[in-house]
Symmetry: C2
Subunit: 512 residues, 2 copies
């Protein structure tokens, strides 16, 4: 057994059985060792941003980490933006980053760089295995660190000699730390504050948006407390049979208007809300003046249990309101995000997973699908576009029995367009939709909001994707995805219905 064997076996022993990889020379031992560990499924990605985003999607859906295989500092860097998103989603991810042999680093060969420094800002754990004996134990540590709480990105740097040298040391099987039980005194105090408040709200973070936590939050809502979620949550159970909380608005002024008069905000696995961006003369904090902020529980606590106990303390009914499936009428006429949302709500099967990198199209579709069949919605938690396609890959690998829907703005879709190839190669049950409005539309909106004034010709050109227009169907077809362009609500509805009824990869260009 060499260090690479010790690594892969330890990972598999700890339940890490998917590897999203783009290897290089320094990772060849790991690649060869894959043939000696049948439990590990390796998935080739043609760019590291695809691999890391896929690991994020896998982690959100599997509740356990996948690993990536990345080639030294530049390979890590290529994946860092989607790891930024994973950090904000608290997704368990284990990056295996190949490095030069330990004795070779000092020569500063061309691919040498300070990998630990590059990785630190987006990681909760970074270590380098300086010997073959160290590899297995550190791999087990990495898995445990990624699972938290609070959970996040762990990076294990693997020098080439630590991979090729022999070892007898495997890592242990680590026991994940279960979430903490709620504190009774806190629950009681929050309940008392809620009863005394004139206009209280509950704000749910990602850890409180699973099915059980939302059911409990629905009970709290039934006791008269308005429930909201963060604007962007890692994974939210939605649709038929689920409680539907409101969502904190993206634009600060809308959020504050919505919260006007609120005198108590109770955080559940969330932090005090802030504006996504600052704007001249607008506040950063999304807490109204005079509103008190209390915390029911943090991320490390079992949010479902805390919410259930809170519901009890409030004398709430045993069950809150849940959505019934409410079929929408077939959309007609012009193709816009509302029409697309209606088609999605009509046709997506139960247990669909939605990867949302839809930017300006996202909220209309989110709204339209509120009473669709039961599904999970994965948001862009860190604001780094280019997540929509990779996240869908990981979700599909984690949940092969579920339909996965990848929603992408055209600007966002181009970021990690290489992922289309992996969807085709692995024959994943993913339908990719790209909203081809041929512009960075959100930036046209934001330009005015930042007080930068009207766009002159130079500015307008930096927000425009229409010269030349990208032929998305041609692009997807070149990467072996069956693809169709739709330019009316009727044609989209038909194409989407067909995609939902057919297993396997599919691409739809929504010409807006």
């Amino acid at each position: 057994m060499n260090g690479a064997d010790a690594l892969i076996t330890t990972l598999a022993d700890n339940g890490v059985t998917a590897c999203f990889a783009n290897p290089g020379t320094s990772e060849m031992q790991f690649v060869a060792a894959l043939d000696r560990e049948p439990r590990m499924r390796s998935v080739l990605c043609l760019f590291e941003g695809v691999a890391t985003g896929a690991a994020d999607g896998y982690g959100r859906m599997a509740g356990k980490p996948a690993c990536t295989l990345l080639h030294l500092g530049p390979g890590y860097a290529n994946g860092a933006a989607n790891l930024h998103n994973a950090r904000r989603a608290f997704t368990p991810v284990v990056n295996i980053i190949g490095d030069h042999a330990t004795y070779h680093r000092g020569y500063d060969a061309p691919l040498n760089s300070d990998i630990a420094a590059l990785a630190a800002p987006n990681s909760i754990w970074v270590r380098s295995a300086e010997s073959a004996d160290a590899v297995g134990p550190l791999a087990a540590e990495a898995v445990a660190a990624s699972q938290g709480p609070p959970g996040g990105v762990a990076c294990l740097i693997l020098p080439a000699d630590s991979a090729w040298n022999e070892t007898a040391v495997k890592g242990p099987v680590a026991t994940p730390t279960p979430p903490a039980a709620p504190e009774a005194a806190t629950v009681a105090a929050v309940a008392a504050r809620l009863k005394a408040a004139r206009k209280p709200v509950l704000l749910l973070g990602s850890s409180a948006c699973g099915e059980a936590a939302l059911a409990a939050a629905g009970r709290v809502a039934a006791a008269g407390v308005r429930v909201l979620t963060d604007t962007f949550t890692a994974r939210q159970a939605r649709g038929e049979g689920r409680f539907r909380p409101d969502k904190l608005a993206y634009f600060a002024e809308a959020a504050l208007k919505d919260l006007d008069g609120v005198d108590l905000m109770v955080l559940v696995g969330a932090t005090s809300p802030v504006a996504f961006f600052a704007y001249p003369d607008r506040p950063s904090e999304l807490v109204p003046d005079g509103c008190a902020v209390e915390t029911l529980c943090g991320r490390a606590t079992d949010a479902a249990a805390a919410l259930d106990q809170l519901a009890e303390a409030l004398g709430a009914p045993a069950a809150g309101p849940v959505e019934a499936f409410a079929p929408l009428a077939a959309p007609q006429g012009r193709l816009d995000a509302w029409a697309i949302g209606a088609a999605i709500a009509r046709h997506m099967p139960a247990q669909t997973v939605i990867s949302d990198d839809a930017v300006t199209a996202g909220l209309p579709i989110f709204t339209q699908t509120r009473a669709a069949r039961a599904h999970d919605w994965l948001s862009l938690t860190g604001g780094a576009i280019g997540q929509g396609i990779p996240l869908a890959i990981g979700a599909a690998v984690a949940c092969p029995e579920r339909k996965v829907l990848s929603l992408n703005g055209d600007g966002a879709g181009m970021y990690t367009v290489q992922g289309l190839w992996t969807i085709a190669r692995e024959r994943l049950d993913v339908t990719v939709v790209v909203f081809a409005n041929h512009k960075y539309r959100i930036l046209g909106i934001e330009l005015g909001r930042t007080g930068a004034g009207e766009a002159g010709p130079a500015a307008a050109r930096l927000l425009d994707l229409g010269d030349p227009r990208i032929d998305w169907v041609g692009l997807a077809t070149s990467l072996s995805l069956p693809a169709v362009r739709c330019d009316s609500a009727e044609s989209f509805d038909a194409a989407f219905a067909e995609a939902m009824a057919t297993p396997g990869p599919r691409f739809i260009e929504a010409a807006m």
Copy 2:
């Protein structure tokens, strides 16, 4: 004037007149200010790795920096791999990295991250403009830092409020530091050592591969000293009328065999050579046992002057040997890298710029073009693939009167394939060639060399790009590049001849 105006004006005053951009909300003031500074040409890139690679290509050809415009930490991270290459090329680059408003950072909004920490490993200078008044002066500092010596990547972080607040402060016009004059005593000592050596070699780094330095190195060669260059140089003048040094071999065992018996190695703007990767039981250092290493000059010294003085001290003739244009016969039959190299050598016009991300196809083409018309060859200095298309964009913007040729492995080409769109949009005179062998061929070679053994099915699948095959012509066409597939030497020769005779964007898939 706001901070963004102060920035762009100061950049333009300092000769920075090209901006490779992918903006976001926090950069809207910079975008709007572009319309008030006509000297700045902005070029939209659909992924930040394209923008940074383009800035590298621009800097290598213009000898002065371009700037990039990047969106917070994730935008920087997406560009970091090509900045790794720029660092290894000592290319002047000025990154403008938008950030949250200074007062907004403390709230840790979703896009917040430690930008300075992310940027440090690949930068020689990182500062944040904490007020509008600081922007202009720091911009001038950034330009000066990027120009060195030794030159490299400077990062100016631009908080949104520093961009939108008013200021009366522009930055100064910085005077670049000229390269140092050679030290006479060092030149004399090196000359004496060379005369005494049995089998000496000169090793030229990137700073000694310009036209003047190579002419002087040719004189040294005429005095009986073998001259080599680093394996990968930032920019090397080649072909008709230029002196042709040998190249240090990529594989360590080949390099050491080639250097067998060498008793003196003189470094000219180079560091002591090391293997690109470590391999079990092979040396890291590429200096033969018993060989002394001396330094004629470092990167901060005028290498052409140092080499001319050395030639004088050695009593060399006034001019060394240079290449005559030697037309190759038309290639025939199977399409391989040698046939492609012959076609390139036959048809590329004088002053072509070659951006080399060709991986295994690179050396045959480099060899075939040794007696082609005069050209500049830009190598992959840092080993981070995905440079070939972006670098060509920057070179074409810097040198609009020159033909630019972008050579890419298919694995490498997929990394920053978004750059094809920018070539089409800007109507750049770039011919892109992709070598479609449908595999990471270099890794197949390296797998054996690292002692990892034969590839089993899982390993082989991670080195294979052929399932499904990428339709490169379809892909390039979808991004509006005129594209053709060639599967024989004759068809490639004809297509390449036509591309060289026709201005504007062109794409050739070389089916290998």
